[in-house]
């Protein structure tokens, strides 16, 4: 599944979408950036409550398919700018991580 297909299927908001054709492979949930760096895998989706520019740096390093900011939090402006420059997809949703992850699971993501 691509990020674009995910956005359509789960009604996610695209905040920065420079590379929506990226393929998704699994997901990781966490808010401690060093841990995400260590444990998330390439092409994972990343569900988090953090919206600052370090998030974009971590997504870029680990080569994640997209960041999903949950619980209706907002990204900081410089994070959005960086994401557009560096080709990192930033999405958001009103849902909580657990609920979103459950619906992903039902769709075998």
């Amino acid at each position: 599944m691509t990020v674009k297909e995910l956005v359509d299927q789960f009604d996610l908001e695209v905040v920065a979408g420079p590379d929506l054709k990226k393929e998704i492979d699994g997901a990781y949930i966490g808010d401690l950036l060093s841990n995400v760096m260590a444990r998330a895998e390439k092409d994972n989706l990343w569900l988090t409550v953090q919206g600052h520019q370090n998030v974009v740096a971590v997504a870029l390093l680990v080569e994640l398919s997209a960041v999903i900011l949950v619980e209706n939090f907002d990204y900081e402006e410089n994070a959005v700018q960086r994401a557009c420059q560096k080709g990192v997809n930033l999405l958001k949703t009103k849902k909580k991580s657990y609920d979103l992850a459950c619906s992903f699971c039902e769709s075998n993501i």
């Binding site: 401690l32 841990n35 520019q53 370090n54 740096a57 971590v58 390093l61 560096k86």
Partner: protein, 185 residues
């Protein structure tokens, strides 16, 4: 990072790579002012003004010059997310000083963690090349550890040798427990 001691380890590794031969770590636990302060100072090669302005920008250090890493960016956001402050000063060929303040009882403040292991492992791997001064304040009490003083007592034995680092470990552990009155981190 899960523990502040891991941030400290990351910073002193930077110092070592910057060819410092003396690193000073100061930790102040000031419960009266609800403040935890960490200061790390080295005499390494320093960072020029231009680079210093962008040193905590993760994109300056993440991809192109991977050897520096996200360490400082993460340390800065750890301090700021606890209503604290972060500062870095540096002068070429003089050294660098990193200061991080945390609100002591902030709910998001990571625990100090295993500082004994951080210090003793660093001495075990780099003690021959790099001297370390570690000062820890808890309220009015203070404990100071200086590898230069230990080396002057050692004569021919390396500070990196097993029996010395085992002793250092115990020494730090006992002294920390003493100044902190048995209080857990």
């Amino acid at each position: 990072m899960r523990e502040l001691s891991l941030h400290i380890l990351d910073i002193i590794e930077n110092s070592r790579k910057a060819e410092a031969d003396l690193i000073k770590i100061k930790i102040e636990e000031n419960l009266t002012d609800n403040l935890l302060k960490i200061v790390i100072e080295d005499n390494g090669s320093g960072i020029d003004q231009h680079k210093l302005e962008k040193i905590t920008d993760p994109f300056i250090t993440s991809r192109t010059t991977r050897e520096v890493g996200l360490g400082l960016s993460l340390f800065k956001s750890a301090a700021e997310s606890c209503e604290g402050d972060f500062e870095i000063d540096s002068e070429i060929n003089q050294g660098t000083r990193v200061t991080a303040d945390f609100k002591y009882d902030h709910i998001d403040r990571a625990p100090l963690g295993d500082i004994t292991t951080t210090i003793s492992n660093f001495v075990a791997s780099s003690g021959d090349q790099v001297d370390l001064v570690y000062q820890h304040y808890y309220q009015e009490k203070c404990f100071k550890f200086d590898t230069r003083e230990i080396k002057s007592e050692l004569e021919d034995l390396s500070i990196q040798s097993r029996q010395v680092t085992a002793w250092i470990r115990e020494y730090i552990e006992e002294n920390l427990a003493e100044i902190r009155g048995g209080e857990a981190f």
